[in-house]
Amino acid sequence: MASTDEELVARSRGGDLDSFNQLVVRWERPIYALAYRTIGREEDARDVAQETFLRAFRALKGFKGEAKFSSWLYRIALNLCRDWVRRERRQPVAQAPEGVDLVELASEQTPSETIEDLVARNEISAAVARAMATLPEEQRTAILLKEYHGLTFQEIADMLDCPLSTVKTRLYQGLTVLRRQLDREGVGKARW
C-alpha cells in the first residue's frame, strides 16, 4: 500500500531521501503542469518544477504540516513562477502551435476519436492557451488551481491569502473573460 504524503514527509524530515524522492515522483507532473500553464514555456517550466523540489527539500525542516504538502509545493511553485515573470519582465507566453502535426496528433488520439476531432481539440487547446495568457495573474492562478489541480475554494484562499469570496469572484471573472475570448475565436460558438 502506498504511503500518504504525510507519512513520506515525516520520513523525509527524518533524513530518508528515498521517501522524499517518492514525493517528487508523485508531484513532479502536477507541479510542472502548473508552471507550464503559468509561464507558457516548457523548458522554463521544467526548471521551475526542478527548483520547486529543491527548495522544498531544503525547507523541509520548516514545514510544519499545517497545510497539505501539495499546497505547500504549489505555493513554492507559484512564487517561483511569479519571480520568473518579474525577472523576464513579460507576460506568460501562449505557445500556440503554428501548424498541426498530424503524426504527433495521432499519437494522442483516443480510440473513439477521429482525426478531425483531434485537430479540433488541438485548435481549442491553442485558443485556450491564448485566452489564458490574457488574464490577470490572480484570475489565471485561481482558474489553474481550481480547474487543473482540483483545489477547494478554501485551499485556494489559504494559498493566496485572500477571502473565500475573493477566490470565487476571481474565478467568475476569469471564466467570463475566457468565455468572451473563446467566443471571439469561434471556439465557444462551435461547441454550443
Partner: protein, 270 residues
C-alpha cells in the same frame, strides 16, 4: 443582471450544501440569464480540459552529495549538473575505442609487441630478439616487399666496399700468419731470444689485426640488422596508424549521421 454570482460559481463547481443547492436550483428555474450563463461557463470548463502541457521528460530526483545537494534527472550520474540532457551522458564509445587502439599501438611500438594474424590464428610476440629476416618473413604480404627493400637499402654501397676490403685484408693476414709460423718453425733451432721475441710480437700483431677485422664485420652486421628492424618497426607503426585513422574517420562519419538524424527528429517534433 442577477447578483447570485457567488452561488453560481459554487454551483458550477458542485460546492454547495444541500440547502443552498436546492435554493439555487429554484432560482435557476426562474432566471434565464443565470441558466444561459451556467451553460456557457460549463462550455468554457469543457474547453479548458483540452489544454494540456507538452509531454516533457522530468524524472527529477534528489541526490545527496557530501558537499552539495542538487536535483538530478533520474538515471543521471551524480556528477552531471542541472540542465544536463542526454547529450551530457552520451559516451563516445567508438572514440574511446579508437583512442584505446592508439594507445595500444604506441605501447606496442615501445614494447615491441608484435601482433600478427595469420592462418594459424592470432600470434602475439614480445621483445626485441627477433632478427630482421624473421620479422620480414612473418609480416603480411603487402608489408614484406617493402621491408625486404628496406633491408637491402640499409646496407649502402660504401659499406659493401669496406667489407670487401676488410675481407681481403683478413685473407692476406691469415696467409702471412701461416708463412710466418712456418718460417718460425724452420728457424727455431738457430734463432736467438731476441729473434724469438720479435716473431712473437709479429704474431700478436697479426692476431690483433684479425680480431679487429672480425669485430668490424660483426659491427657492420649488427648495423644492418638494426636498420632492418627499425624499418620493420616503422612500417608496422605506420600500418597501425593508418588503421586507427580509418577507424576514427568511420566513427566521425557515424557521429555526424547520428547528430543529423537527431537534429531532424528534433525539428520534426517541434
Amino acid at each position: 443582471m442577477c447578483e447570485e454570482k457567488d452561488l453560481l460559481v459554487s454551483y458550477l463547481y458542485d460546492d454547495l450544501g444541500d440547502a443552498d443547492r436546492a435554493r439555487f436550483e429554484r432560482h435557476l428555474r426562474g432566471c434565464t440569464d443565470c441558466r444561459d450563463e451556467l451553460t456557457a461557463l460549463r462550455g468554457v470548463r469543457a474547453d479548458l480540459t483540452s489544454w494540456a502541457p507538452p509531454a516533457s521528460e522530468l524524472g527529477f530526483r534528489i541526490v545527496r552529495d557530501p558537499k552539495v545537494v542538487e536535483l538530478k534527472p533520474r538515471g543521471a550520474s551524480p556528477e552531471t549538473g542541472r540542465g544536463a540532457n542526454w547529450r551530457a551522458w552520451y559516451t563516445p564509445a567508438a572514440g574511446l575505442a579508437a583512442a584505446a587502439v592508439l594507445v595500444l599501438a604506441a605501447a606496442s611500438a615501445i614494447a615491441h609487441v608484435e601482433i600478427h594474424r595469420g592462418p594459424d590464428g592470432l600470434t602475439v610476440r614480445t621483445g626485441w630478439n627477433t632478427v630482421a629476416a624473421q620479422t620480414t618473413a612473418s609480416l603480411p604480404a603487402p608489408v614484406a616487399p617493402a621491408l625486404r627493400e628496406a633491408s637491402v637499402t640499409a646496407a649502402p654501397a660504401a659499406d659493401a666496399a669496406t667489407l670487401a676490403a676488410i675481407e681481403a685484408r683478413l685473407r692476406a693476414l691469415e696467409a702471412s700468419h701461416d708463412s710466418s709460423v712456418r718460417a718460425a718453425s724452420m728457424l727455431s733451432a738457430r734463432s736467438s731470444d731476441q729473434e724469438l721475441l720479435r716473431r712473437m710480437r709479429d704474431l700478436v700483431t697479426v692476431s690483433e689485426a684479425k680480431q679487429t677485422g672480425e669485430l668490424a664485420l660483426r659491427v657492420s652486421q649488427m648495423n644492418r640488422e638494426f636498420d632492418a628492424q627499425h624499418a620493420a618497426d616503422m612500417q608496422k607503426i605506420q600500418s597501425i596508424f593508418a588503421r586507427v585513422n580509418a577507424s576514427v574517420d568511420a566513427d566521425a562519419t557515424m557521429h555526424r549521421e547520428w547528430a543529423s538524424y537527431m537534429l531532424s527528429n528534433s525539428t520534426k517534433q517541434k
